[in-house]
């Protein structure tokens, strides 16, 4: 399960016309007071339009990430090295699909529809986590996705369990419960590979080298370049800043890499005694934004696979509705 700890503007590039706040000051004050008291907002409660919009964007991007996230791993189901690994991978991919559904439902409580969200994803207008726009080249990538990508996602998602919007927070609690197996299975798969041949160990190192920096970018731009973060924090949607989460992830991962026996590909990565944290090198934000904008190595492939699957499933959705209608008509006739 995967979220990018930021909500990128879906219409990056376009200037959004800022409408002056026309919210009722009394309702606004009551809303602010509830947020300040660490209260929760539920679907029927009054909320400022900007809060609603931010949540719809963030939750739907989060849902899209789950759904697109099924693709790179799904590609490996038929090539998993054993029946055991295949069963594990199927279960994980199925979980990601479930997580997408929990999140779409949470977003729908805000007044958007499933069709609207899917249309946003399929037209390329809506964003999803940039990490899935990179290829999974060897079996070790599947392990590294579990260990690092899911690991980074868990760091992001745990604070979201305390999000001020009730349905989002509840979806996150369910997701986090299911998620920890994802990280552990990935790490364990890598441990097994590291006990294998020289070539297998090299595969693990290669996958780590390719994905490490992409995982660090998953936490979103540095706090200084993340103007929406402060508002998200104010509203209790975001609880911990991008840089703090990133630091937490690095500090947690370094000892895990050591046990695994791999090197993290950053010459500047070292323990800073004074800060009691690891220092680390520069993230390539240009590459990150290029990928978010649609120019990563797999953006087109992922989107077209997703659209194709959706279109090819159209007859199933139509048939199910036609069947339901027929059953209903038959019931009416019998009752008459």
């Amino acid at each position: 399960m995967y979220t990018q700890s930021f909500s990128v503007p879906d219409n990056a590039g376009q200037k959004s016309a800022r409408t002056p706040s026309t919210e009722n000051p009394e309702l606004m004050a009551a809303f602010d007071a509830r947020i300040d008291a660490d209260g929760r907002i539920e679907p029927q409660d009054w909320m400022p339009e900007a809060y609603r919009k931010t949540l719809v964007r963030q939750i739907s991007q989060h849902a899209h990430s789950e759904i697109v996230g099924m693709l790179p791993e799904g590609n490996w189901i038929s090539r998993a090295p054993s029946l055991k690994r295949k069963a594990i991978l199927i279960a994980k991919v199925q979980d990601e699909g479930g997580h997408g559904l929990y999140l779409y439902s949470a977003a729908e409580t805000l007044g958007t529809s499933r069709d609207q969200m899917l249309e946003g994803l399929h037209s390329g207008k809506a964003k999803y986590s940039s990490i899935f726009n990179y290829p999974t080249l060897n079996w070790a990538d599947v392990g590294v996705i579990g260990w690092l990508v899911d690991g980074a996602a868990i760091m992001n998602q745990i604070p979201l369990c305390r999000c001020s919007y009730g349905p989002y927070a509840r979806a996150m609690v369910r997701v986090c419960k299911e998620e920890s197996f994802h990280q552990r299975q990935g790490y364990e798969a890598l441990l097994v590979m590291m006990q294998g041949t020289e070539a297998q160990r090299a595969m693990v190192q290669d996958a780590v080298n390719r994905l490490w920096w992409k995982c660090l970018a998953m936490f979103g731009p540095p706090d200084a370049d993340s103007p929406n973060s402060a508002q998200g924090m104010r509203w209790g949607i975001k609880r911990i800043s991008n840089d703090d989460l990133r630091q937490k992830f690095i500090d947690a991962t370094v000892p895990q890499a050591k046990v695994l026996g791999v090197t993290l590909p950053d010459p500047d990565l070292k323990w800073n005694e004074a800060r009691q944290h690891h220092d680390y090198g520069q993230i390539d934000w240009q590459e990150f934004w290029d990928t978010v904008e649609g120019n990563g190595p797999c953006n087109k492939e992922r989107l077209s696979t997703r659209v194709k699957a959706h279109n090819e499933g159209q007859w199933v959705r139509d048939a199910a509705l036609a069947h339901a209608r027929k059953q209903q008509q038959r019931a009416h006739k019998e009752a008459a």
Partner: protein
């Protein structure tokens, strides 16, 4: 009798009984064409780890909910009726548990 021509599958609310002896609890919602499909999908979406022994599905449109604006009117009157709680009454120690 006309049934509305739907484009999207309607929304269902899902309730799961986690074990025999406990109540069904709301756990989320999903889209499905009809009740049978909703049950089937609820099994896949909400009970992948033996979270339930029984499922209810209910069309979301069938729920009538109280209005948040009426919260005060509906629920505040109970706030000053502390005599409805057992702790309101003082009973001599020697009586023991009551």
């Amino acid at each position: 009798m006309n049934t509305p021509a739907l484009k999207e599958w309607p929304l269902w609310e899902i309730f799961v009984r986690s074990k025999q002896g406990l109540e069904h609890k709301h756990c989320g919602s999903l889209h499905a064409a009809d009740a049978a499909q909703a049950l089937h999908m609820a099994r896949d979406v909400y009970t992948r780890r033996q979270e339930g022994v029984s499922i209810w599905v209910l069309p979301s449109a069938a729920i009538t909910a109280s209005n948040p604006d009426d919260k005060g009117e509906l629920f505040d009157p109970a706030a000053d009726k502390i005599y409805r709680h057992p702790t309101f009454y003082e009973i001599p120690e020697e009586v023991g548990h009551m």
